[in-house]
């Protein structure tokens, strides 16, 4: 032990003694080498500082950077309608459905990136029916491509078709408690929502122009004007607009539902934006062998918000959608109905005024009408209706709101109707940000 210590000590002492003994040339070599090394290190450091920032990830887990955002949003309704059967005047799936209290939309929304190639979104909706039993619905579940070239983007799964403005919006983002009558008449109680695919293209124009084409099965109640067999009569025969229907299969490409849509946006000034859209939904229906439905729509959305708005207030928005439908109804000889074309059209126009922070006042006018059919059922279901709805909403934060709305309906075959609704929205969790 002692010996080893001495040995180490001897070496330590010897090293400084030895080094002056090294020849002069070697020393200059070493200095030169150190100089070279220093230069190289400097060059490397410089290079490193140039490329440093690539993909450092933020340490903490947050709403915006987690694997999946999850939110739960509830629309709770209270109110009264002059008609005992509220469904008569509030046919929308997510509308307040009865006098008293109702929950027609409690949605669990999930979204996030799947991998570098796909993003995904799912919306699972719970609602209570007249017996207060809970209904469950896979409202939307789709994947969205995130890395296609040439401004293309693909969507696949189950989703609301990109037609017009409100069809793709979820009820908690609506400006009124209920679905516009014209969307209900053309698309049924829950909008145009199907399994399918859609491709969209962002045109390389100076202003925003997006072209989309959706291809869907076009069947069932969520594609009301298309391959939908209607409801069973007392004899158990499925009927739509008085005609017995036959569920037809997909026999070729022409049996799919095609939904093309064009949207363009213009910044009129720094504080005003205008969005214009034109859409169509084209596909066969189940009332005959070769019967076809064509729905066309145009929509406009205008928004004013000053450059010094606080938390989004004040603002004014004006949204209008007009739709027209040609529904080729097949002949039903046993019911005494000829083949005919049912022509319907309708529109709604609504203004929302955010007059003071957290408060908005709104007014909506609606009109739907259709030509006279040989079928009494068709005439009743397609009766001319005019509706006016004023409302006022208080948003304590962007996660809750309380809305009071009044509807007055002028109806062709029935008495005028009134309804008053109070709606409370409350949302938990991190919800995906909404489009303009």
């Amino acid at each position: 032990m002692k010996l080893r210590c001495h040995f180490v000590l001897a070496i330590i002492l010897l090293v400084p003694l030895l080094s002056p003994g090294a020849d002069e040339g070697q020393q200059t070599n070493m200095v030169e080498e150190i100089k070279q090394l220093r230069l190289r290190t400097e060059a490397l450091e410089k290079k490193l500082s140039d490329t440093k920032p690539v993909a450092l990830s933020l340490g903490s887990v947050s709403a915006g950077s987690s694997y999946m955002n999850a939110s739960f949003d509830v629309l709770f309704n209270a109110g009264w309608s002059s008609t005992p059967d509220t469904k008569e005047i509030q046919p929308g799936c997510h509308d307040p459905s009865q006098r008293g209290f109702s929950i027609r939309n409690a949605e669990l929304a999930l979204d996030g990136a799947v991998d570098p190639y796909f993003k995904a979104f799912a919306n699972i909706v719970f609602m209570t029916d007249f017996e207060e039993e809970t209904q469950l619905e896979l409202e939307e579940a789709y994947a969205l491509s995130s890395s296609l070239p040439y401004g293309l983007q693909a969507k696949a799964g189950r989703f609301y078709a990109e037609f017009g403005r409100q069809n793709t919006q979820h009820p908690h983002t609506w400006s009124f408690v209920d679905q516009p009558l014209v969307l209900n008449r053309m698309f049924g109680e829950d909008g145009l929502r199907q399994n399918g695919v859609r491709l969209s293209w962002l045109a390389p124009t100076p202003n925003f122009t997006e072209l989309t084409l959706g291809v869907f099965n076009g069947q069932g109640g969520d594609a009301f004007s298309f391959r939908y067999t209607g409801e069973a009569d007392t004899n158990g025969v499925d009927r739509l607009y008085g005609r017995a229907t036959t569920a037809r299969n997909l026999d070729g490409l022409g049996d799919f539902l095609f939904v093309p849509c064009l949207a363009s946006a213009f910044d009129l000034t720094d504080s005003q934006t205008l969005v214009l859209g034109a859409s169509a939904a084209l596909g066969p229906n189940d009332t005959g062998k070769d019967t076809y439905t064509m729905i066309y729509g145009v929509d406009t959305y205008w928004k004013w918000k000053p450059a010094n708005a606080e938390a989004g207030w004040p603002f004014v928005t004006w949204q209008t959608e007009a739709l027209a439908r040609n529904f080729e109804a097949g002949a039903d000889e046993t019911a005494g109905l000829p083949s005919e074309t049912l022509c319907d059209w309708g529109l709604y126009s609504q203004v929302q005024w955010g007059f003071i922070r957290c408060w908005t006042a709104g007014l909506r006018g609606e009109y739907v009408t259709g030509n006279t059919s040989a079928s009494t059922e068709a005439n009743e279901e397609r009766a001319t209706t005019t509706r006016v709805s004023p409302n006022v909403t208080w948003y304590p934060t962007e996660f809750s709101k309380i809305r009071l709305q009044y509807n007055h309906d002028w109806r062709e075959y029935a008495q005028d109707a009134d309804a008053v609704w109070l709606q409370l929205e409350f949302m938990l969790g991190a919800h995906a940000a909404h489009k303009f």
Binding site: S49, S62, E398
Partner: protein, 316 residues
């Protein structure tokens, strides 16, 4: 002969067209979410970059409309500069989703998140919205500290050099010049606010903790009862009492905030309202850039604190 002329014309036209296309693409295309990042990008990029800023300087940057025209701007950009600390969470994701631009995907060099590498203040221990509009990653208004702006400038400079290596030397020079100017100014600003160390100032919203930290001012009383919750009469009454007892003489108000509320409090307390802005151009005279903005902020605050009576000496 005729066909030859036609062909020649076509070739000439094509050449001109490509020439124009090349010329118009010669500049590096940059989008900044807010005007502070835009100003930094212009400092570093100069004439070599074309900068588009989404949020307006007077706008509430928590609530920017996701306008379709912004999607077009993002679709054609080479670089996107954002804070990345949740300030833009409510409007940037749908814009990026719509833009379909692989250059600005997360993890790509073209996506600059200026908060990366910074230690953010006020990171909440629990995420509970009963506490108001809180940010999981911490307070996102970090650019009000010039040291953080320096960090942002360095990141932007490095990214410009990576994405546009031909001009790397110019970017490096401009970055060095900017940080030198900033460092010099910072020393001046600190000296200017030195006499008012630990003085308390009221702000409408909690946008200024980084500024307060850097310059030793206390900005920790707010007209908003909780972040993002509009002022209530009860809270304002409480604030008036506190301001009177603590002899607080300055209220900071940003362009989008409710000036009337501040005026009411000012009328009752005699406190001065000082127009503050986080973004160059938010207040008149700050359009020049980040340093001009900071200059304005420090000058006006120093002036207001001086005029509001209680100086440090008197207090002791």
């Amino acid at each position: 002969m005729k066909t030859k002329t036609v062909i020649n014309t076509i070739i000439l036209a094509a050449a001109l067209l490509f020439g124009f296309a090349a010329a118009s693409h010669a500049k590096l295309n940059v989008v900044a979410t807010t005007p502070d990042f835009g100003a930094i990008a212009r400092e570093i990029g100069g004439d070599l970059v074309q900068v588009n800023v989404l949020a307006k300087p007077t706008e509430d940057s928590h609530f920017v409309d996701a306008k379709p025209s912004y999607i077009v701007k993002l679709a054609h950009t080479d670089v996107l500069i954002e804070g990345g600390a949740e300030l833009e969470m409510g409007w940037l994701p749908p814009l990026i989703g719509g833009a379909r631009n692989s250059k600005i995907e997360l993890g790509r060099p073209g996506r600059v998140r200026c908060a990366e590498g910074l230690v953010l203040l006020e990171v909440p221990t629990t995420l509970d919205r009963s506490m108001g509009d809180i940010h999981a990653m911490g307070n996102p208004h970090f650019m009000t500290d010039p040291v953080n702006a320096r960090h942002a400038a360095e990141r932007v400079g490095a990214v410009f050099s990576t994405v546009d290596p031909q001009n790397a030397a110019t970017y490096r020079e401009r970055l060095a010049a900017f940080t030198k100017r900033l460092d010099e100014k910072l020393a001046v600003w600190q000296k200017q606010l030195e006499p008012f160390k630990d003085r308390r100032v009221v702000a409408y919203h909690n946008s200024w903790p980084y500024f307060a930290n850097r310059f030793g001012i206390k900005i920790n009383l707010f007209l908003e009862p909780k972040p993002g919750i509009p002022p209530t009469p009860a809270h304002l009454a409480d604030m008036v009492t506190r301001m009177k007892t603590e002899r607080i003489g300055v209220i900071l108000v940003e362009p989008y905030q409710n000036r009337k509320t501040a005026e009411k409090v000012s009328a009752e307390t005699g406190a001065a309202i000082v127009d503050f802005a986080q973004y160059p151009g938010g207040v008149k005279g700050t359009e020049g850039g980040y340093i001009e903005l900071m200059n304005y902020l420090v000058n006006t605050l120093a002036m207001a604190l001086k005029n509001s009576g209680v100086s440090k000496e008197q207090k002791q």
